[in-house]
């Protein structure tokens, strides 16, 4: 449905508020009062909070008006529950990260006025990625996310690790973007249009030959695979995650990854698949011009999770360990993508919804430890269970949730993924994934072991407490709460995810007559 300019804008309030906040933060930093310690952070967090509120309101509006999707800007941008879900996820991540960063001393020392605008721009990039339905818009959105991310990775300017991370990220990122652009140019050449709908129609007509589709597919997968750190494009992940400031790592591994998945689903399900029954996008999907890309993604998923899990074994640095774990999780998430069914997409969305909390939580624990005199090596976590009981309990909960043990949210997410696989005949894949998640326990437990099984104090008096302060405590609790609650009663999140997939899913090919 096409709308006028003013009506268009009303669906974009979250993005508008985000942009206004961005401007306000820059202005405040340049021209505000001299002593504005923490003011920038507070403003950015408030802006993100308001954005989040508007996302939720828009969500409700879509539901109340029974609108499954609203196209804006000549069909190049869509507001639908699917994109709103990812905006919600990205908004929550950005908000949490803005709150974490407010208490990180090194961020303050390097200039809050630079950190927060960059964070806001990346968030805006993810918001755009969630909604674009046009190749050009897609590239712009991805770069809006990427370029500030490169800077954020190198935010600690005099830190060699941080600079290295930034350089690696730029080099890999540029290569991946270039490959993807090359692939997209094939797509344009095949369809003669940049609009997803147009491309879908062209693809559906069967004009494209297998060779060019395969080539395009491979090249685009490089670009997207890089963003979600799927093997074999994952090599940057450990170095960048380890070297970057931990708040940035937390952002890259959650919000940025969610954005990558949003674009992956939207692109592939719009242009390379069509629903089996027209008008029922939540059901079965059929790949178009199939060069077997579902099997290809299945293989990528298996390789990704296996590499991630095996490489994590030997890590001694917690950040690096979590980096490999996030590679493994990209592999799990891809499982839902393979199924070609609404239930698989729903499982992915659900998993992302739970994953961000547990992963953010785990990184927050890392920040809280290193901000309070601890290190980032596993050996620095020895005896933490006695030195900081609440922190250690949270960390253990997040790690067990990442492993997928009930009654924690990560378990439920995995069940939905495996269920989608089993339901649609991918039992072997479910078995591989299940065994993978069982062995992943081994390295997550290494951190838990260090916290609880090692460095046990002989006497009560021997304990050197590590106090994390109320700010980090509250933030930890905010991550812990959904991790536990969605493990015990997850119906609301499941409903939200189902609705977000079911009502709209990605764009489907419309008959040409509908184009006006």
């Amino acid at each position: 449905m096409q709308l006028g300019v003013v009506e268009n804008l009303s669906y974009l309030t979250p993005e508008i508020i985000l942009t206004v906040t961005l401007g306000a933060v820059i202005v405040l930093d340049l021209g505000g009062p001299k002593d504005k310690k923490g003011l920038v952070a507070r403003l950015a967090a408030t802006g993100l909070g308001a954005t989040l509120l508007m996302v939720i309101l828009t969500y409700f509006e879509l539901e109340s008006k029974q609108r499954s999707r609203v196209f804006l800007f000549a069909d190049s941008f869509v507001v639908d529950p699917f994109s709103m879900y990812f905006k919600l996820v990205a908004g929550v991540c950005a908000f949490m990260i803005a709150m974490f960063a407010a208490k990180v001393r090194r961020i303050e020392a390097h200039g809050e006025g630079e950190f927060y605008p960059l964070l806001l721009v990346t968030t805006l990039g993810i918001f755009l990625m969630a909604g674009v339905t046009d190749l050009v818009g897609m590239v712009v959105a991805i770069e809006t996310l990427s370029i500030p991310s490169y800077i954020l990775a190198g935010f600690y300017k005099r830190d060699r690790g941080s600079s290295e991370a930034s350089l690696k990220y730029v080099l890999y990122g540029a290569t991946a973007s270039g490959s993807m652009l090359f692939g997209l140019s094939f797509l344009y050449g095949l369809a003669g249009t940049t609009s997803f709908q147009g491309i879908a129609t062209a693809m559906g007509s069967g004009r494209a030959d297998i060779l060019s589709i395969s080539l395009m597919l491979g090249l685009v997968l490089i670009g997207v695979g890089f963003k979600i750190s799927a093997a074999p494009f994952h090599m940057w992940t450990p170095d960048v995650y380890e070297g970057s400031p931990t708040v940035v790592t937390a952002f890259l591994s959650t919000a940025s990854k969610a954005g990558g998945f949003a674009i992956l689903i939207r692109l592939f399900y719009s242009i390379l698949a069509r629903p089996e029954v027209a008008g029922q996008p939540a059901g079965q999907w059929i790949p178009i011009g199939d060069p077997g890309w579902t099997s290809m993604v299945a293989v990528i998923a298996v390789v990704t999770m296996t590499i991630g899990n095996l490489a994590a074994y030997k890590q001694t640095n917690v950040k690096r360990l979590l980096a490999y774990s996030s590679i493994a999780h990209a592999g799990y998430l891809l499982l839902g993508f393979v199924v070609m069914h609404g239930s698989g997409l729903m499982a992915m969305l659900f998993y992302i919804g739970t994953y961000v909390f547990m992963n953010l939580g785990a990184f927050l624990c890392v920040i809280a430890v290193s901000e309070n005199g601890g290190g980032e090596e596993i050996s620095d976590y020895r005896g933490l269970g006695w030195r900081s009981p609440f922190l250690a309990m949270c960390m253990a909960a997040f790690l067990f949730s990442l492993t997928g043990l009930p009654p924690l949210a990560g378990f439920v997410g995995k069940v939905y993924l495996f269920a989608a696989l089993v339901e649609h005949g991918w039992v072997w894949l479910a078995v591989v994934a299940a065994l993978n998640s069982a062995v992943s326990l081994y390295y997550y437990v290494r951190v838990v072991k260090a916290m609880y099984l090692e460095g046990i104090p002989r006497r009560e008096g021997d304990v050197v407490p590590l106090r994390i302060g109320s700010h980090f405590g509250i933030m930890l609790f905010l991550c812990l709460l959904p991790t536990v609650i969605f493990g015990i009663y997850w119906e609301p999140l499941a409903k939200l995810a189902t609705w977000s997939v079911g009502a709209s899913a990605p764009v489907e090919a419309r008959p040409a007559a509908a184009h006006k």
Binding site: F411, V439, L441, Y442, V445, E454, E491, A494
Partner: protein, 508 residues
């Protein structure tokens, strides 16, 4: 009492939460709360015992509520003859173990909170009648167990804890996949929806899709079997057991051997057999052979041990083999025998581990060869150990004998001709069992005092009141059920014969 089972399951959890909220340094209060929280299920189990209808195989004390309607997951609890004995046993042994861990030195708060969480998990496993709920409880148990072994265990506790954790988790993720296969291929005839309800899942007419293929059923059964066999533990999946049992603190060894092992055989009874009866028949011989290997191999391993605790641990491997023999026989007597053996072994092995704990607390080692002539120094303790050893080796009049004898009778009655040979071979286990028990008894308690290590146990003191308090109820039950096992059989018999005839309906 409509919510009896829920109360029995969740009161310990409530106790754990209360304990976590207490301030530091209130160790005595923590212990009292733990004792109360574990006492409530024991108290309620009297009502369960009295109210349980022994004439029906259907579920009793049923509670049902929607949990996740979207996925049709239900909070569904209930007991029948298969589970009621295990629920009673869990309530009793958990309560005793609270007192067995009274002297735990460090981290009292954490220990008892985790212990109560463990009790919730165990109760839940035995009461859950929804596969998903069962799975959740099954896994919930792992976490406290890991910490209880890992923090409060012996010298190699870290290795033992992670080994236990990994083994069980690998087994249970396979179970998860099988669970999903069942979910998507079974439709509840009443509602037309997929379901996790165990009673519907065993309805062979409600099936469709890939479950109709024999190959798929084969794989499903084997995956379930491996999942449960790890817990039992069945040879060759038993290697976690000696490590975990030996390193765990006394009370946790008791829980491990007394209850956790039974979850494996319970899972076979509750899930693997009724859900895939034709496969149960197909693999019956296989199960029986593994059972005999367990019996003989476990007994031989036990004989070779110098560490008393390890000997007791391997004797568990041997005793659980009788259960497998009885189960594989697919006769009512065999099933009853297996269940009786689960019950009897739960009591006896708890006594054994408690006894091991008593001596370890006094001399801080468990090497059989370093003892000698203890009987003159600690006669009362010697009496308890002797009683437990005789129960364990299957002396008539004590409960161990009943279970073993029933398993042999069941094996002999089996229509499967292999089982008679297996049963004959399995009787070797009785001989070996008697041998290693009596030999250990002789080396430790009789004869001369060990010259080399004598100075180490100058200070061996007699078993104290708290320890006797833990052992007495078990000893009474061992004797009572050994002399007059009928009340126990009454509890299970109807359900077991129902299960047996159900399985017999589906020949391989």
């Amino acid at each position: 009492m409509n919510h009896l089972l829920s109360l029995m399951t969740f009161v310990p959890l409530l106790g754990a939460l209360i304990i976590l909220c207490l301030p530091k340094g209130k160790d005595e209060l923590v212990k009292c709360i733990a004792a109360c929280a574990a006492g409530v299920p024991l108290f309620l189990s009297f009502f369960l015992w009295k109210g349980f209808d022994r004439t029906t195989a259907s579920l009793q004390f049923v509670e049902k509520a929607d949990w996740i309607p979207m996925f049709n997951i239900q909070y569904s609890m209930g007991v029948d003859g298969i589970s009621v004995i295990m629920v009673l046993l869990t309530a009793l042994i958990s309560f005793i173990c609270i007192f067995a861990s009274w002297e735990i030195g460090k981290g009292v708060k954490g220990y008892f909170a985790l212990f109560l969480l463990l009790e919730t998990g165990m109760m839940g496993v035995f009461c859950a009648m929804d596969f998903f709920l069962f799975y959740v409880f099954w896994e919930v148990m792992l976490l406290p167990m890991y910490f209880l072994i890992g923090i409060w265990g012996g010298p190699r506790k870290e290795y033992a804890a992670i080994k236990f954790f990994m083994y069980t988790l690998v087994g249970s993720v396979l179970m998860l996949v099988v669970m999903l296969v069942f979910y998507f291929n079974v439709t509840d005839p009443a509602t037309g929806k997929h379901t996790f309800d165990l009673l519907v899942l065993r309805n062979q007419d409600a099936r469709s899709g890939s479950l109709m293929l024999e190959g798929v059923r084969d794989l499903c059964f084997l995956a379930l079997f491996v999942g449960f066999a790890i817990k039992v533990p069945v040879f060759p999946f038993h290697t976690w057991l000696p490590d975990a049992h030996v390193e765990a603190p006394t009370a946790i060894s008791v829980i491990l051997a007394g209850i956790l092992l039974k979850m494996g055989t319970y899972g076979l009874f509750r899930i693997a057999f009724p859900l895939l009866p034709d496969m149960a028949n197909k693999y019956a011989t296989f199960i029986g052979v593994l059972g005999v290997i367990n019996i003989v191999y476990g007994a031989l391993c036990a004989m070779a041990q110098d560490d008393l605790k390890k000997m007791v641990a391997y004797s568990s491997v041997s005793h659980m083999g009788y259960c497998l023999l009885g189960m594989g026989a697919m006769t009512t007597a065999g099933f009853n025998g297996a269940m009786m053996q689960m019950f009897g072994h739960g009591l006896v092995t708890s006594m054994l581990f408690l006894c091991v704990g008593v001596i370890y607390e006094r001399v801080h080692h468990r090497w059989i060869s370093r003892f000698g002539g203890l009987a003159t120094m600690v006669p009362v303790y010697t009496g308890f150990v002797t009683f437990a050893f005789f129960a364990s080796l299957g002396l008539p009049g004590l409960v161990g004998f009943i279970g073993e004898a029933m398993c042999f009778i069941g094996g002999w009655q089996s229509v499967n001709p292999v089982f008679q040979k297996l049963t004959i071979f399995a009787t070797l286990g009785i001989l070996l069992g008697a041998a290693f028990h009596l030999w250990a008894l002789q080396r430790m308690f009789l004869g001369e005092k060990n010259k080399i290590y004598t100075e180490q146990y100058h200070h061996v003191t007699e078993i104290n009141g708290r320890e006797i308090f833990c052992l007495i109820p078990l000893a009474i039950l061992v004797l009572a059920a050994g002399c007059y096992p009928q009340p126990v059989f009454d509890l299970m018999n109807v359900s077991m014969s129902e299960l047996q005839s159900f399985i017999a309906h589906y020949p391989k």
